[in-house]
Symmetry: D2
Subunit: 344 residues, 4 copies
């Protein structure tokens, strides 16, 4: 391990599910064989962190633990046997902390489906801290020319919407509808434009639709003022792909209606419960509805490359790690525009 | 037009939606330019005929009309300009009577999605009659070595399940679960085996599961006796593809549970209403749910070829056209095994 | 037929294969049932026209005939039964004059492979004339906001490179190498950029490489000065897709070397003879080499849409039809930059 | 390491490229961390072993080394940290000894294209010995119900043809032409039938064509007696997929001619030099020519599963390891039917 590491570090820790995080000084973890230690510079705040802290998903994390899966920084130490990254490299530690490497999903480029996966900030400690351990084979390589604060959200929000757009199978020149222009959606608009797609942005807030237009959206619909399905069918014949970033069930149900015949609806949010799939429409119109969860390492590398070329830039609000509980409260209340990144 | 055609023919006609069909003697239709007239020998009875006769779908047919979209027979007359079929050819007249030929779906091999399509036995007269008009560019060419009664169900049931299996994207050597072993499902088992797939058959009746095993199913599950999702996951890790032929909403909901991670569920039935899609499972497991409606002309040609090679044989019960109302009653009651074909 | 049509028209006619075209006054063709007559405004000149006039392809055209398959203009008359276009519509008459509509290729969105196809300016008269007959189901619909002279090259050059790029299967964010920046290649660079691809342009002329850069190419290589395969591997790891627009066999052979492992090389030119495929490289690197010929009607509609949005603009030199022989001579000599369009 | 291992073992060693192998008694290798040691029971003999022993490929192996990449047996010892296999497991050690795990190919299920790969029997010692080291993450799991001698050829011949067939993209019900019915081809016929394909077998020896028919080929052509391209086009319209197992350049050239329009030719052999690709035919017929090299771990697992179900059985001639030089001589002379397996 490197000589210059401190003994302790600041971290935001969940001690009790459903309670505020506690800012503590705790030991810097020791880097074992095959591991690396990353000195976090910035860490994006994601909806999933709320579920981690609240413990409201079926499989709960075990406190105490440190959330955060959009942590980016420098490699501070490398464990025995690590050859692929070195001290000083700029990396990010994504949700997919590691996977088994030999199941059918790991062997076919779908390690995000590995049932033996570990998840950063959930089953292992994450990026709401000065230091975090990582698997060198699963970290993202950051482009040199983008700051830590700006690149952090690509680690989850970016790769999630990029993968979701790929999963719609919409081709350059076709239309994709992006439902919800928040932390995920405003990034999705940019990826979609960079991928040669036409973009219809749907939200209930005019300022978010203004943002979508500035980012390149070709068509915007305020779902409070008119029926987006009707509008998309009359104006563009329906969307070839629909990306549902919104976490509400009504948005999910609406999405099928926005799809063109033969279109694909990709779901990337995780609201609780079920959504009613209208069988007649889905069958007669040959609609495909598909779930999509984060992205693989190859997806992440591609998503980071788009950001490195300046084609995608997350709008970030920077806060200190100490403010994490108020940030989470605002996220819970839905009052955040873009993405909050905490500096560490 | 041919010299030998009679003036009138027997037909089963819907005069009032929701009322029994009437067996009538009506004029043989005249064959116009670009049309052909087919002398029906046998006509399969499909669930859709119930919906046509009852008028319980959103877009209703206009009485009086003749149902039936699995009619097969000889070409009796060809209209002006028809060059691709000739008198005496053995053909079938499928659900897709014709399509526009120039919309985006028609141009890309998805004419089943054409919004200008006509449907046999629904928007135009169908095969419950001695003669039926057809578009020579949309009829199926029947294999020489299969009788009319046996081939009739391929025109809708066969091509529908064959296309649905293709839409699951399951590859040879993988598992497909077929939910419901009735008129559609018992044909689906045979297509799946001919396509090199492993088959898990799910039904609530042991005799239907026995039939599935005789037709090659590798695994059968009685959904009344055990949870098919649980069984499929424990025995085979879940199915790569799931074909839902059953027309019940519980079967639809169950289907997602039978899917392996990364699997695809193809819906080919048309029960009314919605089915609750479990968002968490669909997203985390990257499950694809896709509607599929009959099949294109290319699909039909392929489906007929499998039957012509003897790899797929529909189990048929033959009845006279005069018995059509009692057949429809039994279909409504769910007491038919395999497929009923009426001879004309 | 419309009342205002003249009796005769000017046309450039091949009377003897291998001899100059003759500018003649000949009868305006009569529009039959299912046909339309197009008043040509501009007509692009393509390499294929040379082969037509010279008769040096295996299947020769039958003189006398009128070449030209990039003719664009107004619909001047519609034949009986035509419902999908009307007088005054702006259309283009592409290489694929018509196809059978019922073979396996026509049924699956690959009508460009129909063995019964007719070809404009080759097996039927083409656009080097004031009027040309066309099949209304095969003409391209022109965008309103692009002039005839600028849109003409999209009818063949545009759709050919657009389809070829699709056939490389390169995805947004990946690299495509475009070999040859002439009449085809300079359009290909623009399509590739609009499709979100990174472009490496390869040519032997610095002015053409300058043009490529102005049109958005990210990397240019002068193949006379350095080995493009070596350069592409050192700079970008090889190209995911390679589009060979050059009509020389050396360019074909070089293309395989530019491909990344797992890459695809699309051939769209038609030089005579064979090209030596290096088996070891193709097998060990899993390289795909694929021929691509013009594009389907769906491809054409998409290619025209990109032009209509201003994302692709062919550089054209306009000449009168009377100058056709000198234009063809310059094309034969390889001294044309961009694309020549003759006005009629 | 296990207590019962001997100190030395018998092995067939290449000491000088181009010279006969020497049967020697050499030390059993020590199993390091992350490695396993396999007690070989049988080892298939592949054409590639000739190239290894002769050193006639561009990148040469470094003597002394032990060839063999179809070695199968029991796990005799496991190194530190190995958790996925245990002593006594039945495994096979394929050509792909290991790969880097983090390049773009390794991350997308194409580890066979990893430029950092090690190859068994070439860059590391192989299976012509009593013991061989292996990477537990890259060995194939053998089905319980197939003997070592029968399963050995699946490790290379089997997975190579299975992958090649997948790469033709031929679907169940379509035709695949298999050129060359030797050690690879006779296995390919069986995989193709199990995948629901129609098979046309092409060879120059009637006894091999007889074998093909017994294994299920639907059509056979003796290429010495008639033109296979002509025959396939007249009888079946050309093949949707063509698998070229033959190692001769004439067979490669012939393969393109056997393809249907829109078909794919997969090359899996490695004859030296180039083959002349007829550009006109490839472009006009939209033919795809694709190299394919062995198969990934997922492909291998699938290939072994087909064998485990009894759908594919390699015809093997068993010889003692001591006879390896005479076996290689016969392979060089082309006088072997099926596949030779040496027992160790
Ligand atoms: Zn895994
Ligand atoms: Zn997240
Ligand atoms: Zn249509
Ligand atoms: Zn039906
Ligand atoms: Zn052209
Ligand atoms: Zn055709
Ligand atoms: Zn081998
Ligand atoms: Zn690698």
């Amino acid at each position: 391990m490197s000589h210059s590491l401190p003994r302790t570090m600041k971290a935001a820790v969940v001690h009790t599910l459903g309670q505020p995080l506690e800012i503590r000084e705790i030991p810097v973890p020791e880097v074992g064989p095959g591991q690396i230690l990353v000195r976090i510079q910035a860490s994006g705040v994601c909806h999933t962190d709320l579920h981690a802290a609240d413990g409201d998903w079926p499989v709960k994390p075990q406190p105490p633990f440190i959330p955060g899966h959009e942590g980016v920084g420098y490699v501070a130490a490398v464990g025995a046997g690590v050859t692929t990254v070195k001290e000083g490299d700029r990396v990010g530690v994504p949700w997919l902390y590691t996977a088994c490497g030999h199941c059918e999903h790991c062997l076919t480029g779908w390690e995000t489906l590995c049932t033996a996966q570990q998840n950063t900030g959930y089953s292992v400690n994450g990026g709401y801290a000065e230091y975090v351990l990582a698997d060198p084979n699963f970290v993202g390589r950051l482009p040199d020319n983008v700051g830590f604060e700006e690149i952090a959200p690509i680690l989850c929000a970016g790769v999630t919407v990029y993968k979701g757009l790929k999963e719609t199978e919409a081709r350059p020149g076709q239309w994709v509808a992006i439902s919800g222009i928040g932390g995920l959606g405003h990034v999705a608009v940019q990826y979609a434009k960079a991928m040669g797609l036409h973009v219809a942005a749907i939200d209930v807030a005019d300022d978010k639709l203004d943002l979508a237009r500035r980012l390149g959206a070709d068509l915007t619909v305020n779902a409070l003022k008119e029926d987006p399905a009707k509008r998309l069918h009359s104006d563009i014949g329906g969307a070839h792909g629909v990306l549902v970033t919104a976490v509400s069930r009504p948005a999910f149900a609406q999405a099928v209606g926005m799809s063109r015949r033969h279109g694909t609806v990709a779901l990337i949010g995780l609201p609780p419960g079920e959504f009613g799939l209208p069988i007649f429409d889905v069958v007669l119109n040959r609609i495909t509805v598909r779930g999509s969860i984060v992205g693989t390492r190859a997806d992440l590398a591609e998503a980071l490359a788009f950001a490195g070329e300046g084609k995608v830039t997350a709008q970030v609000e920077v806060q200190p790690l100490d403010a994490i509980n108020s940030v989470l409260d605002r996220l819970r209340a839905g009052t955040i525009n873009g993405r909050v990144v905490v500096t560490v």
